[in-house]
């Protein structure tokens, strides 16, 4: 890991320097009236092309990533992102297509998107698929907004509540609120399944729906899903499927067959589009019979003459509307398409099989190494939870400590402190693309940390030691908020940059 880059790009700036080859030729000054014009230059960096390339290349080397480290972050599905997905989505014909190009100049793109919709429909068992949502949370919004549109259209306006298990992702309750609903939380039972008694008590004429993740965020398959569907449907509510964990069941079980009315998929998890340091994602939504009229626009459909077109508001009068300026994140959708075509029918099922094999193997080995599983009597799905409750009490070794010390061993940390209901938890998701040797090395590192905690907890508590930085004081950072760089008064280069106005 390169730790030498300590300057900001602004500190590499020198007034009068620029990446000359990138600027268009000079044009006459504009006739924009003075009162509408900018008075001083913005203060962007003034650097040569090599300065910029070197700075951002060096910065990249201060990141952990799938391409460089094992990244077993639970609930995030950090699998290998095949390079072909990137290079093929970046073919000039795709990059240069304007989103408002007429259908006559869009058939290659639209056909590809239509086929993606069809493949996602098949693998989820839903009736139709929308590619419009730009991320998982927007897919959730889309789903819950459709549930609301469905009830509203029936004049069923007393349904004010969305039921959410306590193990749910934070986006679930936040989404319900954005759709104008109230949230009712129900507990998980001691085996990791939804507490059915609590569910029966919670449902009623006020129930708009339930948001469920299956396999759930505690890393087990919700065995009584059919009964849950029955309870909620009989109360007049609908079922929303959070597809965060779809990787575990791809081709094995389909949300549509489990009774869900609407689902979102994180294409950046299951279908291996890159996480990109926090986005862009894509939250395609699958829809059951009841919600078809409310699907968002635009939507790709056949034009009846052998071609494809986009359905818009006029074609779908009951649509919940439009989620983005155009149609979601097509560059991400193209990557997912390439991935799915490369896997094919057989490969799709193998994803679930080997993700599950790796998780169960890793869980067994960690257990053998002395760690406690949160649900030892259950099968792991594509992920599982280790709880350090015992160690935290005995030696002071917390989940956060293990996470930081793992970084020193060259492994990214699992997800820590989520789900909230398991104390001192590590949510571990190895994915199907990791080899047995990598998993074994991870177990070895974990065992090493456990042994170290018995005789040198201080070294662990003060870790990481081998990274560009040690642990940060986040409280102080939030207090003395610094979210944008300001050149100090004595910084001559910076001052020159700010006054070096052109035009």
């Amino acid at each position: 890991m390169n730790t030498t880059e300590t300057k900001l790009i602004f500190e590499h700036s020198h007034a009068g320097r620029s990446a000359v080859a990138q600027a268009p030729q000079e044009h006459a000054a504009t006739a924009i009236p003075a009162h509408l014009r900018r008075k001083s230059a913005p203060g962007l960096p003034a650097a040569s092309e090599l300065d910029v390339v070197r700075h951002y290349t060096r910065l990249s080397q201060k990141n952990f990533s799938i391409d460089t480290e094992f990244y077993p972050l639970g609930s995030c599905t950090m699998k290998y992102n095949p390079r072909a997905c990137n290079s093929l989505a970046m073919l000039p014909g795709f990059l240069n297509r304007h989103p408002l190009a007429p259908a006559s100049h869009s058939q290659g793109f639209l056909q590809t998107m239509y086929e993606l919709q069809e493949m996602l429909r098949e693998v989820t068992g839903m009736q139709d698929v929308s590619l419009a949502p730009m991320a998982g949370a927007q897919g959730e919004f889309t789903g819950v907004a459709m549930i609301r549109a469905y009830h509203d259209a029936r004049g069923d306006t007393e349904r004010r509540e969305i039921i959410v298990p306590d193990a749910a992702h934070g986006t679930n309750p936040a989404t319900a609120i954005m759709c104008g609903y109230e949230v009712r939380e129900i507990p998980t039972d001691e085996t990791g399944d939804v507490n059915l008694e609590a569910l029966r008590e919670a449902v009623g004429p006020q129930t708009a729906g339930i948001m469920l993740t299956n396999p759930s965020t505690v890393g087990v398959f919700e065995r009584r899903i059919e009964e849950i569907a029955k309870i909620v449907h009989e109360a007049g509510g609908l079922l929303y499927y959070d597809g965060a964990n779809l990787n575990a069941i791809l081709g094995k079980v389909r949300p549509g067959d489990m009774g869900f009315d609407v689902i979102h998929m994180n294409l950046h998890k299951t279908f291996s589009t890159p996480h990109g340091g926090g986005g862009p994602g894509s939250g395609a939504v699958g829809v059951g019979e009841r919600l078809l009229p409310y699907m968002p626009v635009p939507h790709v459909e056949k034009d009846g003459q052998g071609g494809y077109q986009l359905a818009e508001e006029a074609d779908r009068p009951e649509t919940i509307g439009r989620l983005s300026a155009f149609m979601g994140n097509p560059g991400v959708l193209l990557r997912a398409y390439v991935y799915m075509r490369m896997l094919g029918r057989e490969g799709m099922v193998r994803v679930a099989e080997f993700a599950t094999l790796n998780a169960n193997y890793l869980a067994s080995e960690l257990k053998a190494a002395g760690f406690d599983l949160a649900y030892p009597e259950r099968r792991a799905t594509h992920e599982f939870i280790v709880t350090l409750k015992k160690q935290a009490k005995e030696t002071g070794l917390t989940a956060g400590d293990v996470a930081k010390r793992l970084l020193d061993h060259g492994f990214h940390a699992p997800t820590t402190y989520f789900p909230l209901l398991v104390p001192e938890c590590l949510l571990v998701e190895p994915t199907e693309t990791e080899s047995k040797e990598t998993l074994d090395a991870f177990v070895e590192a974990m065992a090493c940390i456990l042994a170290e905690s018995a005789d040198d907890i201080d070294t662990i508590k003060s870790s990481p030691h081998n990274l560009p930085n040690r642990r940060f004081n986040e409280v102080a950072a939030a207090k003395a908020l610094d979210v944008a760089y300001q050149e100090s008064a004595g910084d001559a280069a910076g001052a020159e940059t700010r006054t070096g106005t052109h035009g």
Binding site: P42, G277, F472
Partner: protein, 452 residues
């Protein structure tokens, strides 16, 4: 097995350690009746050579026409280094920087991005980005409602000359939150939003006001006059701006006497290719006093245990993973990879490069207007414009546009689709990517389409 490394021996020994007879056994908690049928609708897998051939054919189908459409997505030159660096595995395949010590590359880059976009918009604080310009505006409306505790109406003034798709996206995203959008009409001669049009609301309880600069027709608004009207009434102002235009135009932070409260916009012109509409990114900046009401991730400078500086995600108590149902938004993503590209793009261009791009766009658009005027095709509005212009095609815009498309040139966006009063008008955009020959082609195609 594509992307799965397991050998037969691996599988056997792993199952043995687990204590299972087969991989199938690992799925024994799933009720038998729920097991999926074979996925017959999904084709057989392709190897990389096969999929490459297929995608090349698909990409070539759409013909790469000469493009003069803008309307929210703008074709600009992107330095080769931008995406070569942005798609380095360390950026491309990293997750959200929750483990700060292992994510200093992404975190520092976002801090630099926040600095650049704050400076460009003349504001004090930026988040790490939102999905796109339209959804950023919807989030800005929600934020303004949170900021303005004095107002009880949740009534927001929206210019009729705002991108109509943005208007629809706001309707979708905040339609269930009791917010009323009130349209302020534009002047049909100038294309501007006149300050006088606000008089109708002089005594109303208004919660926030949106100003678009330039507006959807490319026309420059009297931002000081509009902001001044809002300031007199203590109404928060949301500026919707084009980032390239800000190299030349007064930034929202300087509008009126105190500046706008929130600035948002589509970040795509800063290094994201057209790519059929995404991924792009929405930017959002504000004044420091409003920062706790801002949605999305924010990176701040911090010190580590050794006193060494670095960067962390900060103010996370606003966000869904902590606050759940009380969060400022359900958003958890930012458009990290596109922001990576935009940060490299802005660094590469600098003030001078971005100014030159903006001036070239302005000059090329005005040059096209001049050439077309000589042929009798005139701008629909009289107001000053930046790099987009509403051209009066004299009727049947859709037919003329399709005829020009068939000749390999996308001449603009049909304004009559959203504005019946502008039937026959086309919104055209000429960026720095177009040369003299391209403009001549436009004029020729236009004349041919008219004659047909």
């Amino acid at each position: 097995m594509p992307f799965i490394p397991h050998t037969e021996e691996d599988i056997r020994s792993m199952l043995e350690r687990i204590g299972a007879d087969s991989v199938e056994d690992l799925f024994d908690e799933i009720p038998a009746g729920l097991r999926a049928p074979p996925l017959e609708g999904i084709p057989e897998g392709l190897n990389e050579m096969g999929i490459t051939r297929l995608m090349q054919e698909r990409a070539a189908m759409d013909g790469m026409p000469l493009n003069f459409i803008g309307a929210g997505a703008y074709e600009h030159h992107i330095p080769a280094a931008v995406w070569q660096i942005a798609t380095r595995g360390e950026y491309y395949s990293a997750y959200t920087p929750y483990q700060a010590e292992a994510s200093q590359g992404t975190l520092q880059l976002i801090y630099e991005y926040q600095t650049m976009i704050s400076r460009l918009t003349g504001m004090e604080a930026s988040n790490a980005s939102l999905y796109d310009g339209a959804s950023a505006l919807a989030e800005a409306v929600l934020m303004a409602v949170r900021v303005n505790r004095r107002s009880k109406s949740k009534r927001v003034l929206v210019p009729g000359a705002l991108n109509p798709v943005y208007r629809r996206v706001i309707d979708t995203l905040i339609g269930n939150q009791g917010i009323e959008l009130v349209e302020v009409p534009f002047d049909e001669t100038t294309g501007q939003t006149p300050v006088e049009a606000l008089a109708a609301h002089a005594d109303d309880d208004i919660t926030a006001m949106i100003i678009s600069q330039p507006n959807f027709f490319g026309i420059l608004e009297d931002v000081d006059g509009l902001t001044g009207w809002a300031e007199e009434r203590e109404i928060p102002v949301i500026g919707v701006v084009n980032p390239v235009s800000l190299a030349l135009l007064k930034p929202p932070g300087e509008w009126g006497s105190q500046g706008a409260d929130i600035a948002v916009g589509e970040g795509q012109p800063l290094g994201a290719p057209l790519s059929s509409g995404g991924p792009y990114f929405g930017f959002m900046t504000t004044r420091k006093k409003h920062i706790r009401q801002m949605p999305g991730r924010i990176v701040g400078r911090a010190e580590d245990a050794d006193g060494k500086p670095g960067f962390v995600l900060t103010l996370q108590a606003r966000e869904q993973h902590i606050r759940r149902s009380k969060a400022t938004s359900n958003i958890c993503t930012n458009q990290g990879l596109v922001v990576t590209a935009a940060t490299i793009h802005m660094s590469m261009l600098g003030d001078e490069g971005l100014t030159r791009v903006a001036e070239a766009c302005y000059a090329n658009t005005h040059a096209l207007v001049e050439k077309l005027a000589a042929k009798g095709i005139k701008p629909r509005f009289t107001g000053e414009y930046f790099h987009e212009v509403a051209l009066d095609f004299g009727g049947n815009a859709a037919g003329q546009l399709q005829a020009m498309a068939d000749a390999g040139l996308l001449a603009g966006h049909d304004l009559g689709r959203d504005y019946p009063a502008l039937d026959g008008c086309v919104l055209a955009c000429v960026t720095e990517t177009k040369n003299e020959n391209d403009l001549e082609q436009y004029v020729a195609a236009c004349e041919q389409a008219r004659a047909a």
